[in-house]
Symmetry: C2
Subunit: 187 residues, 2 copies
DNA sequence: TTTCGTTTTTATCATTTGTTAAATAGTTTC
DNA sequence: GAAACTATTTAACAAATGATAAAAACGAAA
């Protein structure tokens, strides 16, 4: 997905403000398997996915648990770094060869203080991520594993086609064995 | 908690900008049991809790599930209404007699477009809520019910003292019977 | 195609949580 | 304080999920 569309999908900006953001963006290609973010590190950039797919995961004891997937158009952000300049808890791994737009957090924050349009763009960006996070939270709290799997299948069919089921299972909050059983019961 | 402190805890504002927000705020007292937000309704205000405690809940089949608690200093927001002008899915009930600061969403949004300091305050507001939501999400996905209960006990002991256990149970994503068992096993 | 390594499914048993109902404890009202 | 109501705990059984191991299916590479 093109950067103009990604920016405007969040909050339509006048050309002048959009150019300010675009001047700070660098395009990069990175291979499948690349670890974009490392846990316990303050990340200095955010990214937008032009092409490809990625996941965020963290460790609980020995187990790695995936809690986010992103595809074309999605932002990749270590929220703790972005919001509070603190170490994040997540690794982010590219699951396919990816083309990314990189944006330095420091430069973006400077723009927030200089341009009211961009400040409102940043507000909307956080608000939209918040809505998504709330919806995930409620799905996790309200629905059974089977319902969550069916919802994922319906809303993000591409995830299940493009990603290992072990990652999907931990994303759903269950073991891979449990996901296999659910899939067997549905057919 | 006083409104100046609530505002500045989110993002410190110069007096002039803070006054603009405060001019739009009305103080209200409402009794225990009052339903502040109704599900399937577009809410037109957000609130901050000066004194008291509240919960947000929604229905899954017949069951009412609590997914948020707020006490002194916390914002009360129907995010779908606030962000997208859409119907929310939650009721909000006051669990004690409350003193609230009310702020019309429409007036705040006007300020976002006029004052860059307030726009950045609104950005920070969403960002901080986002961090909280992510932390809840991860706790729900990573931890067992027992761990989540212990964490609540540690981080928000006042909730468990001030709120019915049936609400706490649904907040933890388990039944009340299950919570009773967990409590019995811990002692 | 065959082989090797990885992913997914199946099987078995243990543990956790849900469901329903009854018992106990706690609160409010008269 | 007794009665009525509400909240919490306990009990018994059912259902869902976890853990471990083995089998089957799938993919990549020779």
């Amino acid at each position: 997905m093109e950067i103009n569309q990604i920016i405007d999908n969040i909050y339509p900006l006048p050309t002048k403000s959009k150019d300010l953001i675009k001047q700070s963006i660098i395009e990069t290609k990175l291979p499948k398997g690349h670890i974009l973010f490392k846990a316990n590190k303050v990340e200095t950039s955010i990214y937008f996915i032009k092409k490809g797919i990625a996941r965020a995961y963290a460790y609980s004891d020995e187990n790695e648990i995936t809690f986010w997937f992103g595809k074309e158009g999605a932002p990749i952000v270590s929220m703790k770094s972005y919001v509070n300049n603190e170490k994040g808890y997540e690794d982010v791994e590219l699951l396919e060869d990816c083309e990314l737009y990189e944006l330095k957090i420091e430069q973006l924050q400077k723009l927030f203080l200089e341009d009211i349009e961009i400040a409102n763009w940043g507000r909307k960006f956080a608000e939209l991520e918040l809505i998504k996070s709330e919806e995930r939270l409620i799905a996790l709290q309200f629905n059974t594993a089977t319902q969550r799997y069916l919802a994922l299948l319906k809303n993000y069919p591409s995830i299940i086609q493009r990603v290992q089921l072990s990652h999907v299972a931990s994303y759903l909050g269950i073991t891979q064995v449990s996901l296999s059983r659910i899939r067997a019961n549905i057919k």
